[in-house]
């Protein structure tokens, strides 16, 4: 264990802990922008600099390993001034479009500017350098004017999704992320998982489908499990005025954390689709107690309630089992169901119906 002092408070941490993590242990919050607990730390944005006794210059706490006897000062006047300067530099060439930006209210740059009371400086770049909404990807909206070059998108794509779509291009003031060799995202083999969007601290990368439809503070977030497959990813449905406008990932999800696939993150448009069945339907003859037609136009579908529909299904299964035996019935379950749902179907087949005819689509 390593003993160090943060703002005069003694703290003991295991070897390999960064100063940023150690500060968190004693309740000291050091601001960060390029750092994210899921991603490899790079120390690029320099907002997390702290004074360390014995060092000539302030050090980036996100990459600085805690060492024995270290004395760290996280909020000295000089450090606060440095952070303000860094924020000014970031804001100087940032567009002044917070009023219409999708992530207003949930933007890390905005939060820090508020915390440190930094205004957009007058001496900034007077113009727009990149085309807004520059990428044809149907799910991800790219606006490089808002980018602060933190490289979180690059690291998310590399370290979490493993697709290596984003890379940094150019040097100096022109540095910015590009997909592939400065092509478009899909051409750079993007799977549209939206991890880059989830990790972007500003509005540079945002969700295109929900752009302009609601900000974070305007929505109610409902935690749910994804219905697309059996992995069991969880995410938050962002509900505004009774409609799901967006899906956001959350580190609270036990299975997947912030990671989602394209279906989980962007495949939510079926929820409010007019073609979606929201009530069960049965053939009219079943309700009216008539016979099934063998010729001509079949009986039409009619909407009914769940009890009626389930009763009908149970009765028909019972009839088949009585007349032809349990082994005349087979049950096929799905990989899209959870383990628990598949287990229940197994019980249903073997114990309720009395047959071993149960199989799973993954065998095909």
């Amino acid at each position: 264990m390593i003993n160090l002092k943060i703002n005069g408070k003694e703290v003991q941490v295991p070897e390999g802990t960064t100063v940023l993590q150690a500060a968190g242990q004693v309740g000291v919050t050091i601001p960060t922008l390029c750092n994210h607990p899921d991603l490899h730390a790079t120390g690029g944005c320099r907002i997390c600099v702290v004074d360390v006794k014995g060092w000539r210059t302030p050090m980036a706490s996100c990459t600085l390993p805690a060492s024995e006897g270290m004395e760290v000062e996280t909020h000295s006047p000089a450090i606060l001034k440095s952070r303000k300067t860094i924020l000014e530099l970031l804001l100087a060439n940032h567009p002044r479009d917070c009023l219409t930006c999708d992530v207003g209210g949930s933007c890390e740059l905005q939060d820090l500017s508020y915390e440190y009371q930094v205004q957009v400086p007058e001496w900034g770049t007077k113009g727009t350098r990149y085309i807004a909404d520059s990428d044809p990807n149907p799910f991800v909206r790219v606006d490089m004017n808002r980018c602060i070059q933190c490289t979180r998108c690059v690291r998310a794509c590399t370290e979490i999704q493993g697709r290596f779509v984003w890379t940094m291009a150019e040097r100096g003031f022109d540095t910015h992320p590009v997909p592939g060799a400065d092509t478009d995202m899909l051409d750079a083999r993007c799977e549209s998982c939206g991890a880059c969007v989830a990790y972007c601290p500003t509005g540079a990368l945002s969700d295109k489908m929900s752009y302009g439809q609601g900000r974070t503070h305007q929505v109610k977030k409902v935690m749910t499990t994804c219905t697309f497959c059996g992995v069991g990813c969880q995410f938050e449905l962002n509900v505004k005025d009774g409609r799901v406008i967006r899906v956001t990932s959350t580190e609270e999800a036990p299975v997947n954390g912030n990671h989602l696939c394209v279906k989980g993150r962007y495949g939510y448009d079926f929820i409010h689709h007019p073609d979606r069945l929201v009530k069960p339907k049965v053939r009219r003859y079943l309700i009216e107690g008539k016979k099934k037609k063998t010729k001509g136009k079949p009986w039409e579908w009619v909407e009914t309630d769940w009890d009626t529909a389930l009763d009908l299904a149970a009765r028909k299964l019972h009839d088949v089992r009585t007349n032809f035996g349990a082994d005349s019935i087979g049950v096929l379950t799905s990989a899209k169901c959870t383990n628990e749902e598949n287990y229940v179907m197994n019980k249903f087949a073997r114990q309720v119906l009395g047959t071993n005819n149960i199989d799973h689509c993954a065998r095909l």
Binding site: A41, T42, G43, G44, C45, R46, I47, V49, T57, P58, A60, C62, T63, L64, P65, A78, K81, S82, T85, I86, L89, L90, A92, N93, W123, T125, K126, G127, T128, R129, Y130, I131, I148, Q149, T151, T167, M168, E170, R171, G172, F173, D174, T175
Partner: protein, 555 residues
């Protein structure tokens, strides 16, 4: 081996080749054949000898007559007169003034020979860089043999430590201590990396070694590997150094063949291999951690430190990164001993330093002199004084990131300690000498333009800060400056010095700061009088153009 009566050396550095050195060699050979002298006279090539105004150079031994510049059409006449008839061709002789420059072996020219102290450049320009035999005959690989057969790794480090050698890349870190750190670092696998990414503008000291004496670096790296316990080395060479790359590849192949490299060197258990890795033109890759990232195949961006490369370097293994000039000092130190080395230079900075002289002086080129000589001596003796009509206004040491030294500091001894005391840096050894016609604001603008372009873009202070200071300086040259801008820039520079991730951002504002310290009046004239005292700056707002194409412009 046949004994030859004479030897002709032709310089074949890239500049000479551009000016037709290859044709000169071809015509010399043809001419020799036509006089039936091919068995008596050998034609060989040497690398750059340290200056550029009389290339291509032809030197005839054993007479030590230097001709230059020589054209292909002169070759036949030269062979006929000098080698067939035995008369020196006066028309082709290199002009005596230029000749008296850096070439140590040209001391025959009395009256024009400022003494150099060649340790690093001992062989460069004297031996054929593509011949291992010539290297060996000039004490080559002697130090390696001594290290492997007489010394323990600990003993090698002790000698280096005792010699007081300091890193020649710019920072002046004690080399022996660095070696000890890497030797003491935990880990089975260790690496030696030679930083040959000489990208500081106006610095050509490493090129002379790499092109003219490539075996020296190989020898030094193997010694370093033996001392720190590494079995693999990388030479990260600047991408533009095509000839140096070729010479290194040739030298590595020859050294392997002779058993100085590869398995069981000198018949011992020690094995060492070297790879050459060419850079791709980024200035920042001269920074050791960016260089390591680049070797690993990643974008050349400096890492956050600590941890340092001495414990977590290439492929996360303990790594020794040394500059070419630093390594080139190792074999001479082992051969001659630490006490010999300490007798050169000053007590706090022993040894020699290679300087590249540029600017408004009579001689421009590379010299190697003991540490501690003054700028005045360099200008008056080695650079042959300022150009006619020129008066020294300032000098810049150490390339773009170096310091501005006003004329009144020219008597400061040039060594690490004296410069540190004077608040300036020695850097890579580039000396830019400027006369009274140089506008300091314009000079700083050019330097900042370099930094805003060469910043890797990783950390905010450097990426945006360099751009901002550049914009402010550019406004000064266009007559648009404000007094308040100066304080904004100075404040920004001090934040860049504090919070930048690497030396690039930390030193980007050094020149601006030097300008404000030593030439404030001249800067204020640009603002208050809207006049450039030297008449260099346009002071014309009409020329104010943005460096960026904006899609939309804010009003």
């Amino acid at each position: 081996m046949k004994t030859k009566r004479a030897m002709i050396l032709v310089s074949n550095d890239p500049e000479s080749i551009r000016l037709g050195a290859n044709e000169v060699v071809q015509h010399l050979n043809e001419a020799l054949a036509s006089y039936d002298l091919q068995d008596e006279v050998d034609v060989s090539t040497i690398s750059d000898v340290g200056y550029s105004n009389i290339l291509p150079l032809v030197i005839v031994y054993p007479d030590t007559v230097v001709y230059g510049p020589v054209k292909a059409s002169d070759a036949r006449y030269l062979v006929e007169e000098h080698l067939y008839k035995g008369r020196v061709v006066n028309d082709l002789l290199a002009p005596p003034k230029a000749l008296t420059g850096p070439i140590g072996f040209l001391r025959g020219h009395k009256g024009y020979n400022p003494a150099e102290q060649r340790v690093v450049l001992e062989r460069a320009g004297r031996i054929d860089p593509e011949s291992i035999e010539e290297f060996i005959s000039a004490n080559g690989y002697e130090a390696l043999g001594k290290a492997l057969s007489e010394l323990t790794p600990e003993g090698v480090i002790e000698i280096i430590e005792k010699s007081g050698l300091q890193g020649r890349g710019g920072a002046g870190f004690p080399t022996g201590r660095k070696w000890r750190f890497v030797r003491g670092a935990k880990g089975e696998k260790k690496y030696v990396v030679c930083n040959a990414d000489e990208s500081e503008p106006g610095t050509f000291k490493d090129r002379l070694v790499l092109e003219g004496d490539p075996h020296l670096i190989i020898e030094a790296m193997v010694i370093a590997g033996y001392a720190i316990g590494a079995d693999e080395g990388y030479i990260y060479i600047r991408g533009e150094y095509g000839l140096a790359y070729q010479h290194l590849e040739t030298a590595i192949a020859q050294a392997k063949e002779y058993g100085f490299l590869g398995d069981n060197i000198f018949g011992t258990d020690f094995c060492f291999n070297i790879h050459v890795h060419a850079g791709a033109g980024a200035y920042v890759c001269g920074e050791e951690t960016a260089l390591i990232e680049s070797i690993e195949g990643k974008r050349g961006e400096p890492r956050s430190r600590p941890p340092y490369p001495t414990t977590n370097g290439l492929w996360d293994k303990p790594t020794l990164v040394n500059n070419v000039e630093t390594l080139a000092n190792i074999p001479p130190i082992l051969r001659n001993g630490a006490d010999w080395y300490k007798s050169l230079g000053t007590p706090s900075s022993p040894g020699t330093k290679v300087y590249t002289i540029m600017g408004n002086v009579n001689f421009r080129g590379v010299i190697e002199v003991p540490m501690g000589i003054t700028l005045r001596e360099v200008i008056n003796i080695y650079a042959k004084g300022m150009k006619p009509g020129s008066i020294l206004k300032l000098a810049q040491t150490g390339g773009s990131s170096g310091s501005i030294i006003p004329a009144d500091l020219q008597d400061t001894p040039m060594d690490f300690e004296s410069f540190r005391k004077a608040g300036v840096s020695l850097g890579s050894g580039a000396l830019l000498i400027c006369d009274q016609h140089t506008c300091i604001v314009d000079l700083v603008k050019v330097l900042l333009q370099f930094f805003r372009f060469e910043s890797c873009g990783k950390c905010t202070p450097c990426r945006v800060g360099a751009q901002r200071i550049y914009e402010i300086t550019k406004r000064l040259t266009q007559g648009q400056g404000e007094i308040a801008d100066l304080d904004i820039a100075l404040d920004l520079i001090s934040e860049m010095e504090r919070t930048s991730n690497c030396g690039l951002g930390q030193t980007a504002g050094t020149a601006f700061r030097g300008m404000m310290t030593h030439f404030r009046e001249e800067v204020e004239a640009h603002i208050l009088n809207r006049v450039c005292p030297t008449g260099v700056c346009s002071m014309d707002p009409e020329t104010a153009q943005s460096d960026y194409i904006f899609i939309t412009q804010e009003k």
